[in-house]
């Protein structure tokens, strides 16, 4: 059905490894399976850019689009325009208000919750006398990150230890160096912090560098010494650390780029073929699984398999 079609494939931030892999997987998959051409639109982590990209769908003569946009409201007018032109519209991540187009999303919240719970349990087990103090590094002013990562994580920790102290989320949007600086400064002044949720793999690199600079970041044979770290966007670099019994990075949210990319393309084709309604009230949602990659609940070999399946490594 997709022969010769042009598909606009949105990602929020191409500098993120997950999105990068997702984008290239989509290009390949669409061409191989449907003979369709994928054009990637990079949102550059900027709502304004994402919004202006939506209008390019009509102007650029696309046949279909799968959006990834943080502020769904911003896309509504553009999506309605595109629907009027008969363009197939789908969304990834967040449903676009009032448009009724089908949405594919990853279930991040449950993974974040589970990671929080696992970390709290492990800490309590190792140090029953030391109260839990947690912190998150990411995007405190970001609706989707907040609802998919920050809040459920805190809830997960609280579900195990209602008395846990939450220092809150610190803005690390500037990247690796910022994350490192924050960890160094924060843990110098608040050495008692022991659960850290670093909300992107990129930030985790900075977090671990900061920890090592302070002489922290270590486990002893599977037992936490000073803190436990969780991450998002599990990748080959994190693989070694998560399964190293002496590193404090122990859990990570595995977002499957291959699965997600294929799902997003398939959804478009389903709409084109009429298998899925172009619009529905309320909008139809399709979930892609996010995985909890954990030192405690996953075998190393399974993680390896997952990696090669999802990243083709």
């Amino acid at each position: 059905a997709g022969e010769g079609k042009r598909i606009a494939f949105f990602v929020s931030d191409l500098s993120n490894v997950f999105h990068q892999s997702q984008a290239s997987a989509a290009e390949k998959y669409a061409m191989d399976k449907y003979g369709a051409e994928v054009v990637v639109f990079d949102g550059q982590a900027d709502s304004a850019v994402m919004t202006q990209n939506v209008d390019q769908i009509v102007a650029g003569g696309f046949d279909a689009a799968t959006l990834h946009i943080w502020d769904a409201e911003a896309a509504t007018p553009g999506v309605n325009d595109a629907l009027d032109e008969g363009i197939v519209m789908t969304s990834f991540f967040s449903p676009i208000t009032d448009t009724g187009i089908p949405t594919a999303r990853s279930d991040e919240a449950s993974v974040s919750f589970e990671m929080g719970a696992q970390m709290a349990t492990a800490w309590k087990e190792a140090h029953p006398d030391k109260p839990i103090v947690m912190v998150q590094l990411g995007w405190p002013n970001h609706t989707e990150v907040n609802s998919g990562r920050t809040s459920p994580f805190v809830e997960g920790v609280m579900s195990v230890d209602p008395g846990a102290e939450n220092l809150g989320a610190l803005d690390s949007s500037k990247g690796q160096e910022a994350a490192k600086q924050i960890v160094v400064d924060l843990l110098t002044q608040r050495p008692e912090v022991n659960l850290i949720y670093s909300e992107a793999s990129n930030l985790t690199v900075g977090t671990m560098a900061g920890l090592s600079q302070l002489g922290r970041g270590k486990f002893e044979d599977g037992k936490p010494l000073t803190e436990i770290v969780a991450s998002v966007d599990f990748d080959a670099v994190e693989f070694d650390q998560v399964f190293d019994p002496n590193s404090s990075l122990k859990v990570s949210m595995g977002l499957p780029p291959l699965e997600t990319a294929q799902g997003r393309i398939d959804l478009i084709m389903d709409v084109l073929d009429g298998n899925v309604e172009a619009k529905a009230e309320p909008a139809q949602e399709y979930f892609y699984k996010a995985y909890t990659i954990s030192y405690w609940s996953m075998e190393k070999d399974d993680a390896q398999d997952w990696l090669s399946a999802q990243f083709g490594g």
């Binding site: 191409l14 500098s15 993120n16 490894v17 999105h19 990068q20 290239s24 990079d42 912190v135 405190p140 002013n141 220092l167 809150g168 989320a169 610190l170 803005d171 500037k174 990247g175 690796q176 160096e177 490192k180 600086q181 924050i182 160094v184 400064d185 924060l186 110098t188 002044q189 608040r190 990129n202 690199v205 900075g206 560098a209 090592s212 600079q213 302070l214 002489g215 080959a236 670099v237 083709g312 490594g313």
Partner: protein
């Protein structure tokens, strides 16, 4: 009047401190005062480790600030350094990545690491040479040129990484330089290199002909030329040095994080400019000191560190930063105005 001064030994005749010395010491005082203030407000702030952090967290931007300051003193901007940091980092990774990766971003040129560093540095120098070419040879205002080359450098880094990063398939020794700790402390090689570079810069600026020439050019470029100073060559050298330092910073950061990230050092050129200005270097050239720049960086670092320690939300962080910079700069202008009254 001359009879009055004749009896005084020459050493005493040097009037009160120069304006430069005055502003520089003022910056130092403000930095220390802010640190003490933060110590009062933030629990656990007052400790040695925190002072160390102020320096270690900022080695990159201070390193860049050194030649940005020199160039500023000579009357030229260098906004390209942030782009060069990204470019040289990405290049060093790309050159060192083994060529047999599974996809485009995991395969590189497979050079031995030292050669990769050398080639990455050459890439950085090429940008510096471009700056010099456009500014010196073609006479285009440096702010336009370096804004352009910043984008070109970062643009090349983005193309090489397809807008993302390269962090796989790297040789083991890749992470060595950036993570080498020194003297059995947690202080790493890049920080020590920065301090060395800083001390050399202070010496060059205060005591050496090279430093003075920079001031002469900034104070009056035409008079400098007519006084026999080879202005083009001097500015060219400054741009090359600046690019070399930025290139080294990029390589070290890539090594520290074991990744070549095309967005690394975003807005770092601005941070370098800001600390220089905050440190009392005149945007019009011919005035200022790298010592001021160093403590300008410390002022900002104190604010960031205190805000982090208090786990401030971004809104209050921005507001706090505004207030602190405001106070620092108002103190400066006020004190100078009083002094010159």
């Amino acid at each position: 009047m001359s009879s009055l001064t004749e009896n005084i030994p020459q050493s005493l005749q040097r009037e009160k401190m120069s304006d430069e010395g005055f502003i520089t010491s003022l910056v130092v005082i403000v930095a220390v005062a802010l640190f003490l203030l933060a110590s009062l407000l933030v629990p656990n702030f007052f400790q040695w480790q925190n002072v160390v952090n102020l320096v270690t967290n900022n080695w990159a931007v201070i390193s860049l600030g050194i030649f940005v300051s020199f160039l500023l003193v000579s009357g030229n901007f260098d906004l390209s350094v942030g782009g060069i940091v990204a470019l040289s980092g990405v290049l060093s990774v790309w050159f060192a990545q083994s060529p047999d990766g599974a996809n485009a971003l995991s395969s590189g040129l497979g050079m031995p690491y030292p050669l990769a560093i050398l080639c990455a540095l050459i890439g950085a120098l090429a940008i510096g040479a471009m700056n010099a070419l456009f500014v010196v040879r073609l006479g285009i205002p440096s702010i336009i040129v370096t804004l352009g080359t910043m984008m070109v450098a970062r643009g090349i880094a983005q193309v090489i990484t397809q807008g993302s990063q390269r962090n796989t398939n790297l040789p083991d020794e890749f992470g060595f330089l950036g993570n080498l700790t020194m003297f059995g402390t947690s202080v790493k090689l890049p920080v020590v290199l920065m301090l060395l570079l800083f001390l050399v810069a202070v010496f060059v600026e205060r005591k050496m002909v090279f430093g003075r020439i920079t001031y002469w050019i900034g104070a009056n470029p035409e008079a400098a030329t007519l006084s026999g100073i080879n202005r083009s060559w001097h500015i060219t050298k400054l741009y090359l040095f600046s690019a070399a330092v930025a290139g080294m910073v990029g390589i070290l950061l890539a090594s520290e994080f074991k990744s070549g990230f095309s967005n690394r050092g975003t807005l770092m050129e601005f941070d370098a400019l800001v600390i220089a200005l905050l440190g009392g270097i005149a945007i019009t050239g011919g005035f200022g000191s790298v010592i001021g720049m160093f403590f300008g960086a410390i002022i900002l670092a104190v604010v960031t560190s205190a805000a982090t320690g208090m786990v401030l939300s971004p809104d209050w962080q921005f507001i706090l930063k505004a207030i602190a910079v405001f106070l620092a700069i108002v103190t400066q202008t006020w004190a100078v105005a009083r002094r010159n009254r």
